[in-house]
Symmetry: C2
Subunit: 428 residues, 2 copies
């Protein structure tokens, strides 16, 4: 179905019927997509990257429309910056498509194999999940990034981007599809929701059996709404309330450089540290907090932490559960590993938590007992990222417990089937 | 919290508050459980098996109360049979506990490991999911089976059994907990819902963040209700509409024995065949349908199938989407592999589908393209079972696509965390 046909249909149909139409087209395309070889999928992604590069004038013109509308609507500078495309950013998006083309295809990997005493040969083999729904906000690069990861892993995708980026998203989507279709990918393998009607988002969230998984990409309010209303499984993370615990045995210089980097490298990412736990027996706490304060970070401490430096304010009860995403840090002094683990259990969002220690036994205890998607020893929490983990890219960082946890890339976009090869066995 | 305290609390609290109280207790117990060694968990399960054997008189007396109440309420013979315990069945339940104690503990398994160019050492390690909710119907053995699988994989469990088995479940639960507690397992690691109030089931289903996963065990109406109302992730299967396709190249004798076994070995299990697809070019279709008819199976065919034998009735449109769980089978004649795959794609419940063929290329095509949790070549669909797959036991067969698919045992009751070991790395 062409975009124009779907637009006509969109105007005539209920949101549920529209999503069903799109989902059926996407599922049929996924079946055809699944029959392409690894090399064919890779070549199609490279063709999509080329098509996007060739479409730069149209995409930038579309983006200018979005920027003008956003400016007129009074969007914040930060939102406008997320929305803005230029030659460099567009080249980056195309390069990211080409990178995904080079990643190993997880489909077909044998997870386990066994032959039973009766001769049945069992194997579990990775297969695509099916149709993935992506619901995102103002960043138009998600249109290309998410589509590429879904396609590389054999899934069809239904994209629903933010209204402020609607022209940019349509231009990027059109270019991608041109490149993909030229290499034999069915057009409906990558679909962009043809309407910005919010009711269509609700219809996506409740399309159980039609959409196999929803990935929300955006701020906390978007993710909360998706988690609250979805009947389809959701892969998401809400908060990154990440802790760094400086153990008594930590190397003072290492503790200081890790704390500074974990908080101040980029304050707005989900892996940035939001709470620093200083062991009461760590001798260099004053130097660590001074370095943070000198770097321009506001510190809010419990009474013992506040006594370390007059520039430290008093933390409220809410501070321990706050994701600042800013140059603000809550600081507590704790009495040993147990107290640190206990604080983290009560306040962590189970995203990423770290310890700095010179004691291997303490490190292993921390790794074993802190129940977060990512637990780290002697490293900055800012490493919490699919690229840094060698996954090539990420569709998101999952803080739920099922299916996939932490940075999710291609493997998290697959499931498996059991293949059983027999020679006529019947069950006694 | 003792059972009596919880019962008092249950009478005073809203269902939501009761479930929250139970869940907090269960989660705290899980943290303590996670610190037990593999050997300690195994020994605790063996102690639970012994305690159950020792409690046989109380359990059988409790079961007699349930049987009397069920008879008075006019439960069907099939339901009463599911409910009934005797010395042999009770011994079987205890033996199953002991078997789970011997299974390999998945917790701590390293799924993947990598060292990045910057020296960060990454590993993904299996950890328990947390607190599992099991909602089940009349079979009291689920009380022990599900508890054992959850415990073996380091999870706490909140059990909510059927009202018709309430006395049996309480007696089994009390015995299990006696054995477990004697070996250092916290009492709240295995909790049985202290009320049969249906509102408490609703509260379990919506306890997102308190209960990590719900596993419904029972009939289709139970599973549908759970899937419809749950905000907590659900691991479940609805239907087993399983197909067997007899390819033109199939060995006639093998085709006949597999078809007979797949349908007639036990007709009431989810892996039993519900539709037989006969290739138009398979020369021995008459013998296969005659064998099924002679074995007492009612056949409902499309016009071509009906022409194979006068005893075959006409299938309605609904027959292709019906899980009979009885000695009834729908039969269609199809023209080749593509038509068979197409029929299965339209009507399968994605549980288990099989082909009988002498052609390896056709077999591989079928395995690759049929999108079901279990796909089989030259074997009876009745093998769809965790025990037959060598998993030792199963918590259920999942027909959803995320987290786990097909027979789910210990591994499906775990998730993973990323452990990162550094030497002071900060992100550039």
């Amino acid at each position: 179905m062409s975009d124009m046909q779907i637009l006509d249909t969109a105007q005539a149909q209920s949101p549920e019927a529209l999503v069903a139409t799109l989902a059926h087209a996407g599922r049929a395309a996924q079946v055809a997509l699944a029959r392409l070889t690894d090399a064919e999928k890779s070549a199609a992604l490279l063709a999509a990257a080329d098509a996007l590069r060739a479409a730069a004038p149209e995409v930038l013109a579309a983006n200018a429309l979005d920027m003008a509308a956003g400016t007129a609507r009074g969007l914040s500078g930060a939102l406008l910056d997320r929305l803005r495309l230029d030659d460099g950013r567009l080249a980056g998006i195309a390069d990211a498509l080409a990178t995904v083309a080079t990643l190993a295809d997880p489909v077909g990997q044998v997870i386990s194999a066994d032959t039973r005493p009766n001769g049945l040969a069992l194997s579990r083999v990775r297969v695509p999940i099916g149709l993935i729904g992506i619901i995102y906000e103002s960043r138009p690069n998600v249109t290309a990034d998410a589509a590429a990861l879904c396609l590389r892993s054999g899934n069809a995708v239904l994209l629903r981007g933010g209204t402020e980026a609607v022209h940019s998203n349509r231009a990027i989507h059109a270019a991608l599809v041109r490149g993909l279709v030229a290499r034999g990918v069915p057009e409906a393998a990558v679909q962009l929701m043809p309407t910005q009607d919010r009711a269509a988002v609700g219809a996506m969230l409740t399309a159980a059996g039609l959409i196999d998984m929803i990935v929300p990409r955006g701020g906390k309010s978007l993710v909360e709404r998706v988690q609250k209303d979805a009947r389809v499984p959701v892969l998401a993370h809400l908060d990154g309330i990440c802790h760094t615990y400086i153990h008594a045995s930590a190397d003072p210089q290492m503790a200081q450089s890790i704390a500074l980097n974990a908080k101040m490298r980029r304050t707005g990412i989900c892996g940035s540290m939001e709470t620093l736990l200083l062991d009461a027996a760590f001798p260099a706490s004053q130097a660590v907090v001074a370095a943070l304060l000198d770097a321009g970070c506001e510190l809010r401490g419990d009474p013992r932490a506040a006594s370390l430096d007059p520039r430290i304010g008093a933390a409220s009860a809410q501070d321990w559960d706050t994701e600042y995403l800013d140059a603000i840090l809550s600081v507590a002094v704790v009495d040993g590993l147990e107290a640190a683990i206990d604080h983290i259990a009560r306040h962590s969002s189970h995203h990423t938590d770290a310890i700095v220690t010179g004691d291997d036994a303490v490190a292993e205890e921390f790794l074993a007992r802190v129940d977060s998607a990512i637990v780290m020893v002697n490293a900055s929490t800012q490493f919490a990222d699919g690229g840094e983990f060698g996954l090539g890219a990420e569709i998101g960082i999952a803080t739920g417990r099922l299916h996939a946890r932490g940075p999710v890339a291609l493997e998290g976009l697959t499931t498996y089937k059991w293949q059983i090869r027999g020679t006529g066995q019947v069950r006694p």
